[in-house]
Symmetry: C2
Subunit: 318 residues, 2 copies
């Protein structure tokens, strides 16, 4: 994704990596041991990227780097907790904290990363920034609760599914954009940029859910249908159920109890054409996000970069 930026953006992202490494190293041997691997395994750093791009054209100063580190720390915290809940052993080819240190240490590691996210942002002195982060982190947890409450439920509507995507993923994308606007040089555009972020976040989640059904395994690093196996009802299944009456009538919990059954169900969902419809839904969100940007008086470089990020969300699935 770095091609959207220039030396200034690269400097910001590099400083963010340095800051993340400092935080992970500076809060006890246990954190360094448990979270060091996750940090080194990297990631797309999409949320810090949004912070810098929405931060406008100024030099990436300390407050923007703090915000970028904060959103990535919060993201890391949720991944560490998600891996505990999913009992996942690998992420990005690296053993998860859950696998290497156990359930209890992983839960505490997530909590510590979570706390450091707020500490980073508190250091910027931006009250509105702390509010944005706490709103996002509440939304992430609510999204998780909603997902657990809806597990195995055949009657999950599209609206409820999209609301969950907004909470689980859109909220932190939105906060990243808002923080960039609040702490950077763009002013009074934070609502619109947050709206842009939320939309590409929802698109990102929908496409992630498509990928769980479509595979290929070589790309995702996991077998197809893992969401089905743990009862998470996503858009592909919702659309497929509208098109395949027999599928809709079945009980998910009894129908899918093994990885093989989940894979077979993935094929069946794909056969209804539901994946294309789900992809189209995600593309519509990306298009809306770009329309949102048109409302703003952005520099041409900044607009082009944000458009490229929006397109990048889609391209990773093409």
């Amino acid at each position: 994704m770095l091609e959207v930026g220039g030396p200034r953006l690269e400097a910001g992202l590099r400083q963010t990596e340095e800051r993340l490494a400092e935080v992970v190293a500076g809060h006890g041997d246990e954190l360094a041991a448990h979270a060091g691997g996750s940090l080194a395994a990297g990631g797309k750093r999409l949320r810090p990227l949004l912070v810098f791009l929405c931060g406008g054209t100024a030099e990436p100063e300390r407050r923007l780097v703090a915000a970028a580190a904060a959103v990535e720390l919060l993201h890391m915290a949720t991944l560490v907790h998600d891996d505990v809940l999913d009992q996942a052993s690998l992420r990005r080819g690296t053993p998860t904290v859950f696998a290497s240190a156990g359930r209890n240490a992983a839960t505490a590691t997530g909590d510590l990363l979570f706390s450091r996210a707020f500490a980073e942002l508190a250091a910027t002195g931006s009250e509105a920034g702390v509010r944005a982060l706490s709103t996002a982190s509440s939304a992430l947890a609510r999204g998780e609760l909603l997902q657990r409450a809806d597990a195995w439920a055949a009657e999950v509507t599209r609206e409820r599914y999209l609301e969950r995507c907004r909470l689980k993923t859109g909220s932190l994308f939105a906060a990243s954009c808002r923080l960039g606007a609040l702490l950077g040089s763009s002013d009074s555009t934070d609502e619109v940029l947050a709206c842009f972020g939320e939309r590409i976040g929802v698109a990102f989640q929908v496409l992630d859910d498509v990928l769980d059904v479509s595979g290929p395994t070589e790309r995702t690093g996991k077998r197809r249908g893992t969401d089905l196996l743990d009862g998470t009802v996503t858009l592909p299944l919702i659309v497929a159920s509208e098109r395949d009456a027999e599928l809709a009538a079945g009980d998910l919990k009894t129908a899918i109890t093994t990885a093989d059954e989940a894979e077979a169900m993935s094929d069946r969902i794909a056969a209804t054409g539901a994946l294309d419809e789900a992809r189209a839904q995600a593309l519509a969100y990306v298009a809306e996000a770009k329309t949102t940007l048109a409302e703003l008086d952005l520099g041409s470089d900044q607009r082009r970069a944000l458009d490229l990020v929006a397109d990048g969300v889609v391209e990773r699935y093409s």
Copy 2:
């Protein structure tokens, strides 16, 4: 504990309960369902009490109530996560979130309570306040990590044990006092009040650990020796190992695998007189805390109330 205050303190604590109820009711049906029970089951509200007492003599205004709600929300979040880690089914006679909603919902519920703690404090606009809370919440998580790292380790020193108490319990007591000072009418006393809070917090934790060994079960609601059973090395065992060479030579993990063995080990620890020494250590912390207060130019009512809270920490064990 209410006898330490007057109508002003009672009003503050009542407003805190109202605010906690609003927070739990206002962030989705799932949070209301999962955390409503814990909230209704109550608790000593010792941390909010410290906020108000350290807040001085002004009317308990909105910012102080927000801080009191924030520290209690953070405390509730850690209890919900602790119950997941300990697979505990009851707390204060009420089913835990873990027991009623399952591991995953309980983890997310803890995360949401955690987020709302920061949201409450962000609303006060106090940058120093948010920093105090994030410092405390990092310390709580580090304490938990330290405890897991030290599980079953025979060589835990007194110093390391006390550091863990400081992180696990002292830090949030300290933050409660600091927040009271920052947001209330006392000024430039927050360091000293935080020091007071930390000391009574450590005393509180040491006495809690004594209670785990001493019982009685009717009071604690659990069998004696639960810490021993999950490998948590506390002061009573450290002191007993200094006095009983055979005990020190044994391997905790192989020696204690059942609740009966944990109870027998509790008797053996008590027989060394270690509980008296541990209690004396806690009393020394309380005395130090009260000495700390002497440095401050407090009103006589405020000083008397804080002294009573310090004594109250001890009295609950007498």
